[in-house]
Every structure is written in structure tokens, then in C-alpha cells.
Amino acid sequence: MDYIIAFLVGGAICAIGQLIIDTTKCSNAHLLVGMVCLGAILSGIGIYEPFQEFAGAGALVPVLGFGSSITKGMLSEIERLGWEGLFTGAFEITGLGLAASIVFSSIIALLRKPQK
């Protein structure tokens, strides 16, 4: 059941993104930046958590979930450390993925040349 919900929610978010690209002058980069900001804001006002609780990976995997993870990390680190959390929290949840992205992308770039 959770797979179906993740499929429907994740698919719907991507379909909305495609509609925005096709019907407005919005580029891919603008769309991604808009979504990451929206995710961060929705998480800050407490809407994204219940949504993610319901949709699971359908809410986490789209870039909205990346923005939400940034805010979530900051808020939990603020509770733990105080004001320092505003800065250390940015990579609390996302840092693993970002560092992994740098390491794996470098390895792949060393091993392979672009196809086109």
C-alpha cells in the first residue's frame, strides 16, 4: 500500500512540475529551486511533516523533500545546540547525500567520459 501512495504522490508532484515547465517560461533550474524553497518553507510551518508521514518516499524523494530535510535538520539542531543549529543543521540530514554525491560523482567522472 505504501508503494502505491508513494507512486501516486511522487508522480503527482512530478506531473505538476512538468505542467509548470510546459505552460510557463519556467526552466528546469527555476522549477527545482522553487520546489526546494517551497519544501523548506512548508516544513518550517509544520505542514510537510504530516504530509511526509502519509506519503513516505513520495514526499521525501522529490526535491521538495530535500528542502524539507534542510529545515528539519536546522530545527532539530536548534533544539539540541541553540543558535548554532541554524548553521550546523543545514547538513544534518542532507549532508550524507551531498558528500556521497561529491565522492561518487568524482569517481564516476574519473572512470567514464560523457556519452555525447
Binding site: 511522487g10 506531473a15 510546459d22 527545482l32 530535500f66 528539519k72 568524482s106 564516476i108 555525447k116
Partner: protein, 146 residues
């Protein structure tokens, strides 16, 4: 002919974008990637102690999958069909990093690959952190968390 007239002529004569087809493909591809993410999340929820850790591991695994598929040249084909369905998930974010690393490697390791790896993904990180910072600061001040 004025540039404005020319633009109108191009607009009138270019084929309409297949809106419905694009949207359905984006839905299907995005949904599929999210279901794959659910598989990873379910496994991570068992091995990790907290929800935040499970989310963190899931994001990292999806980023790894995106990087490998990009290296194999498969992700570009998925993106061609899926459009936003491939770009919006975190695997698409990873795709932009890996393809930039591969692309700019020919300009050198330091100033090519190193400097330009985040040429597309950079704005996402910068504005994600800025908006997260503002929202968290506002929330912490209002609730008196400091």
C-alpha cells in the same frame, strides 16, 4: 520583418507541445522513482534508529543510484522520456552533479570538475539553505527556542 512579428510567426507555426503526453510520462517516471525510494526507505527504517537517519540514508542511496545510472548513460534516456519526472526527484539532482563532473572533467580536475560539479545543483543547495535558514530563524524567534 520585425523581431516581434518573427517570434509570433515561429510561435504560430511550431507544433504544440504534447502537454498531456508529457505530463503522463512525468507522472509515471516520477512515481516509479518514488516507489523505488519507498523500497529504500522501508529497508532504511529497519536498519536506522530514527526517522531522520532513515530519511538521510534514503536520500543518499537515491543519490548513489542517480549517479550510477548517469555514469552508465541510462539516466539521460530516462530524462528524455520522463522530463520533470526524472528532474524533480533527488536522483535528477544527482544526475546534474554527475553529468557536470563528467562534462567538465576535460577542462581539468581542479578548475573543471572541482569547480563546476555543482554548476546546476548549486542554486538548489544555496536557495534551499537560505529559505530553510529564514524559516527556521523566524520559527525559533517566535517560539523562543534560543
Amino acid at each position: 520583418m520585425k523581431p516581434k512579428d518573427y517570434q509570433k510567426l515561429v510561435k504560430d507555426n511550431s507544433p504544440p507541445r504534447p502537454l498531456l503526453k508529457n505530463t503522463l510520462w512525468a507522472f509515471f517516471v516520477g512515481g516509479l522513482i518514488s516507489s523505488l525510494g519507498q523500497v529504500v526507505l522501508n529497508i532504511a527504517s529497519k536498519t536506522e534508529n530514527t526517522k531522520a537517519e532513515a530519511a538521510s540514508v534514503t536520500l543518499a542511496v537515491m543519490i548513489l543510484i542517480g549517479a550510477i545510472l548517469t555514469g552508465l548513460g541510462i539516466y539521460d534516456e530516462i530524462a528524455e522520456k520522463g522530463g520533470a519526472g526524472a528532474a524533480v526527484p533527488i536522483t535528477g539532482f544527482s544526475n546534474t552533479v554527475t553529468s557536470a563532473a563528467m562534462e567538465f572533467r576535460r577542462e581539468g580536475f581542479l578548475l573543471g570538475m572541482g569547480a563546476k560539479m555543482f554548476v546546476i545543483a548549486g542554486p538548489v543547495i544555496v536557495f534551499g539553505i537560505l529559505s530553510g535558514f529564514i524559516v527556521s530563524l523566524a520559527k525559533a524567534l517566535i517560539l523562543g527556542l534560543f
